[in-house]
Assembly symmetry: C2
DNA sequence: CATGAAAAATGTGATCTTCACATAATTTCA
DNA sequence: TGAAATTATGTGAAGATCACATTTTTCATG
């Protein structure tokens, strides 16, 4: 049994029983306690469970609220690649905006190599991450907190953006189709849109799997972005359409 | 040697050496490792040092940046009393604003008894504390992050407040004199002022020791507050002046 | 498709941390 | 002042973490 399978099996167990002991897991999967510790550390890091002395638990209700934690764990390696490619667009001294559910914290790490910077964001994970970095001027966009997206949204957010300006905005999207980016949530679209309007240049971050998907609310045409970064080459039919329209993708390759 | 003296001695050591080992501390003060663990836990909890395996360290620069952490630790018991008295003014369903350096987190805890609530704040500790509380609608005021005050300030903050309204605003101050509240920092005054203007009722929180102190920037006259909460009775000369002006103090007594 | 180097996963034992409980010191207050 | 309550401290068992050694997997390339 592979490591990721075992982690998934641990999570499957936890939805039923709410608490498991470390010894139980070790004998069930026939691995050492150390290995179980490491698995639980990973899962706890991702916010999917909480380590307690002798085992792990999930709080009731975590299933719903941890959407963004689950997303943060998925494709972590691809996200790190994209984050490095994104950070390469940034020069020290610039002002950048970041609006991103599941990639913000990773992008924050990558941006640290480009300090000093001014960073503007409505993402709680990024704000936590950069708060104590002395050489980053951090501007939070306020707003109503959304547990689903782990960020701040609403008129307060949009009004704050209307008063600010940045050199570059990093925007992500879960769906691109017909040369347009989409999002399922109205309020998120408005925040992303306001951020795009407040920046001189715009960079779109998108997982290659999301090409060819649509969602209810249109965010922007791909031509509005100065850079589009993805982790792998999209399906060839999608790629053909993009290049026919003159859209250039930056693919963040493995050994960057 | 008493416990608090020993903790102070540990901190004194750390300003010189930046790192100490647990065993060293245990033999130096002739106490068990367990006792040193507990001391370090307390100090780490207060943010004054960081426990590491086998000892503790202070990051360079922590001396400057941890102002708010030190303030948060001081008079913790009195602050908890004031927080309970403040929370007593709140009814479930209300919208309250909190602008507070060192008392915000404690006030957040006290407010949990009055859920459901809408809480508006520019304080990072409070935002962290309330983020995952399902029955609290949390609205963050954005702004430029200040490491000194552990909160967000500036035009973004003030603009957000101009769009919001609350039933009650909790405002604290480090100085009250001649029936007026003061603060040493211009930007903090503007945020507090904006918050007061955005609320129907205003409650001032002040440590009794701060009566009779002034600071550069005037915040407001005491008559502008509907409630003034303090932890103990101020000096009698101050008290006389206050009652002569018809100002009523709420004193949060020990056994509340 | 072999193969060998690099990366990832796992195990081991020493060391450190935490917990629960027992005991001692201190404070509180009638 | 003296008993009760609170706070501080010690002890040993059980758990967690770390560094390092070993095994397994991955993957580019001959």
């Amino acid at each position: 049994m592979k490591r990721e399978d075992r982690k998934q099996a641990i999570m499957d167990l936890l939805v039923d029983v709410r608490a498991v002991s470390l010894d139980d897991l070790a004998s069930r999967f026939d691995v050492s306690r150390m290995t179980v510790h490491r698995d639980l550390d990973d899962l706890a890091q991702a916010g999917l469970l909480r380590k307690v002395r002798g085992g792990a638990t999930v709080e009731p209700g975590t299933q719903f609220e941890s959407d963004f934690r689950i997303r943060a764990m998925q494709d972590a390696e691809a996200k790190a690649r994209m984050a490095r490619a994104a950070a390469a667009l940034v020069e020290p001294g610039m002002t950048v905006m970041v609006n991103d559910g599941s990639m913000a914290a990773g992008l924050a790490d990558a941006l640290l190599d480009r300090r000093p910077l001014t960073v503007i964001s409505n993402n709680a994970a990024l704000i936590d991450r950069l708060r104590d970095e002395a050489s980053v001027r951090l501007i939070a966009l306020g707003g109503v907190y959304s547990a689903k997206y782990n960020g701040f949204f609403g008129v307060v957010t949009e009004a704050a953006l209307s008063r600010l300006r940045a050199d570059l905005a990093f925007v992500s999207t879960p769906a691109v189709n017909d040369l347009r980016a989409f999002h399922m949530d109205d309020e998120v679209v408005r925040a992303k849109r306001a951020m795009m309007d407040a920046a001189d240049q715009r960079c779109l971050l998108i997982n290659h799997k999301r090409f060819g998907h649509s969602a209810l609310h249109a965010l922007a045409g791909l031509a509005e972005f100065n850079h589009i970064i993805t982790d792998e080459s999209p399906p060839s039919d999608q790629l053909a359409r993009l290049s026919a329209a003159g859209i250039v993708l930056t693919i963040a390759r493995n050994t960057a």
